[in-house]
Amino acid sequence: MLRFLQWRSLFRRNKFEGEMADEFAFHIQGRIDDLIRNGLSPQEAARRARLEFGGKERYREECRESHRLHWPDELGRNIRYSLRNIRKTPSFSLAAVASLALGIGVNTFVFSVFDSLVLRPLPIKEPARVAFVETASGMNAFSFPDYKEFRDRNKAFDGVAGYRISVMNFERGGEPSRMWCYLATGNYFDVLGVKPALGRFFHQADDVRPGASAYVVLSYESWQGRFGGDWSVAGKSVRINGRPYTVMGVTPQGFHGTETFYWPEVWIPMMMEPQVEVGNPWLDIRSTWNTMMLGRLRPGINRTQAAEDLNRIADDLARQYPREDKGLRLRLAELGFMGSNLRQPIEAFTGGVLLLASLVLLTACSNLAGLMLARLSDRQKELAIRVSIGASRLRIVGQLLTESLVLAILGGAAGCATAIAACKLLSGWHAPVDFPVLIVATPDWRLMAFAIAITIGTGLLFGLGPALRSARADVNPLMKGSSGVAIFRTRHRVALRDLLLVGQIAFCFVLVFGCILSLEGLQRAITLPLGFDPQNVATAAVDLGSAGYSEAQGMLFQQRLAERFRELPGITSAAYANSLPLSIDQSTTSVERADAEDKGGRRQEGHANYYEISPGLLETLRVPLLRGRDFNDHDNEHAPPVAIVNQTFARTVLGTDNPVGKLFRYGPQTPPIEVIGLVKDGKYVSLTEDSDPALFRCILQEYNPTSTFVVRSRSSAATVVSQLRKEIAALNPKLPVYGAGSLESMLGFAMFPMHAAAIALSAFGVLALVLTVTGIYGLVDYSVSRRTREFGIRMAVARKVSGCCA
């Protein structure tokens, strides 16, 4: 297209030039003929005709100008001239291009992350009509029986799909490996309106009877990676948790479900849930809320109407099942982050960083404007000469603007290259966690538009002021041979450079102080007690459920493995749990005081983070035990149910600081559990959370096949990890190990937003400081050079240097 336009304009131009030459030739020939007819010799006639016509070149140029065809010429000249100037002052140019590259690069990079996380619509049919369903309090999952009611009884949606992020053991030929998936209801792909790249997708009819739909749909990436892009993959068999599944199809490239950061490898029909999440079937349990919902709105229905429709059903459910669904209210949210609880902070964070980045760019702009102004004072003679030999003001402004735009484009190109490289790095970066988190920031038209707009905007921003100023300059003093200091004399009391200086210092202050304050806040959040000590602790996890262990076998395996770990050299203690605080896999449970109804019927209810831990885990993680005792081997299934709680749990649920001996339960129908210990509060889900209630049960009483082993060693954790793998392999060589590493690096997931923010903020602060210091130096240098004469006179008169320094 561009090539075509170039050719077209070139063609038009050639035609114009040719016709103009013909016309002039016709004129001169006509004149020669007339002059010969009047009696002149041919030679004399030709000479006279040319003389009378005047400067052909000049009139050609004037004709082009009249026809508005001159600007490509002038632009070409301006650009050549600018490039010459840029080469002539390499240090200035380098500084300018470098600071622009930084400013534009940072902005483009941050924007591309913002774009790919927040702005870019998902690759599904009419994404605007698809919404995520969450509770009014922000919970993002529902029970599967409730989901079915919403799916079948709503009147506002073309379809409501249920899905869940899950993980299983995948096997094809050799070694089994852990693989993340979406469990999705049969209507999932139809609701999203996605077409398979290969084979077919499952539909509602394929997902009816539990355990009867052993199909998988592969993601494009896993088809490429694990199956080498095999075109005959549909119909082939794979094993998941030891059972055969048939590959049904492949999703189109770029489609990875509805969570922006999550890249699953397969989709499995929801009815296979009991087979995928072995030992934890919940499809028929109304009190287990594990199903996320999304729906495609009927045409003409807006989100408020749809939410009303869902709440009508929710009211019915609350009446029908008061125990599970009392007070259930629903609302719609944007797709992409499993509801608005996660989306809002991500949007706020990336938006805030973008704002900071634009402040950095503004600093760079004002800095460059100052330098440009200073440099123009060196070029005043040249400009004055150009004005006096007839260059129009517009032309001078055009020339100077071209120069700043050329600089901006060079800086923008360098910045874009940096940003794209940074995006590549980010896209290839796998968070150090057992979870396929990817932030794929690929350049798209929105990014290109942003980069171009920001580059041109920048060029105008730092170029326009100085250019206009110099075009207003008075030529006469210069031509009279004065030293030229007068050319940029300011007509106003507040000079442009003063404004620049003030603006620059203001930006710098805002940035640096903003960064320091935020860093301090982060520091405080990071140094807040975790509630445990991750140093010198190594972890390794196995999923015994997917590996086919029964409860009895699994429990035995866990105990034997923990014993083997304890016998390793350099190990001080070893224990295990279903999950660790600040890892990704977190569970909560509803709790209430067991004696609540006895005390005036006022039930104290709440939710608590929930862990199943082995005896010795608290000691291994160094969680301070404030009262009572830790679990021991006698707290098994034959003993009365016991639990350890944290301070917040004790205060909010049990209403006491000494909960030992108090009773609580999960719900009215469940047996009471006795509290035997109190531990210090910690962080459980995120580093920034307030203190939340937490509850620990003994894994010997409440078996869980998901087992994360933790080992405290005397030496650094990294050296222990290979020993852990060896011990696991000695017990079962076919068991996939995941999450193996030091606990500190596992915490990277929780720490990542903090670290990212800290790095971004410090980088911005330093950048702003450097830019401002160089900018101020440049401006002061310039203003001193302008006033050398004045200072000379002052010093001659006052004979004091101090007067000039003031």
Binding site: D22, E23, F24, F26, H27, Y59, C63, S66
Partner: protein, 117 residues
């Protein structure tokens, strides 16, 4: 020096445009013919370089006062002809009347005698 030149050119530009429009209004004509016609109707008093005619022609074409077409000249050569558009005709009328008003006003002013002031 430079400025003076520019002023003269500006003064000239208005009158040159008017003369070109007038000349073309007498019938479609090529550039050289327009020059001869202007010399003829102005009694040869216009002292410009002949090339200066063309920027004016191109400008008037650009402004939509003139149209062009290629044709064959009286001596059988390919030439570009200029034709007055309806817009050019309106413009010419406007300029003619404002020019006469100016001439009248100046003329009256110059005829003024001391007794009338």
């Amino acid at each position: 020096m430079h400025r003076k030149d520019k002023k003269a050119a500006e003064l000239l530009q208005g009158t040159l445009d008017l003369l070109v429009l007038k000349a073309v209004s007498l019938g479609k004509m090529h550039g050289y013919g327009i020059l001869l016609r202007i010399e003829q109707i102005s009694g040869g008093s216009l002292d410009i370089e002949q090339g200066a005619l063309y920027p004016a022609l191109y400008r008037l074409e650009r402004q939509g006062m003139l149209e062009t077409e290629w044709g064959t000249s009286e001596n059988n050569r390919r030439a570009k002809y200029y034709i007055l558009t309806s817009r050019g005709r309106v413009q010419l009328k406007d300029e003619e009347s404002s020019w006469s008003r100016l001439v009248d006003a100046i003329g009256t002013a110059l005829k003024a005698r001391p007794s009338e002031v």
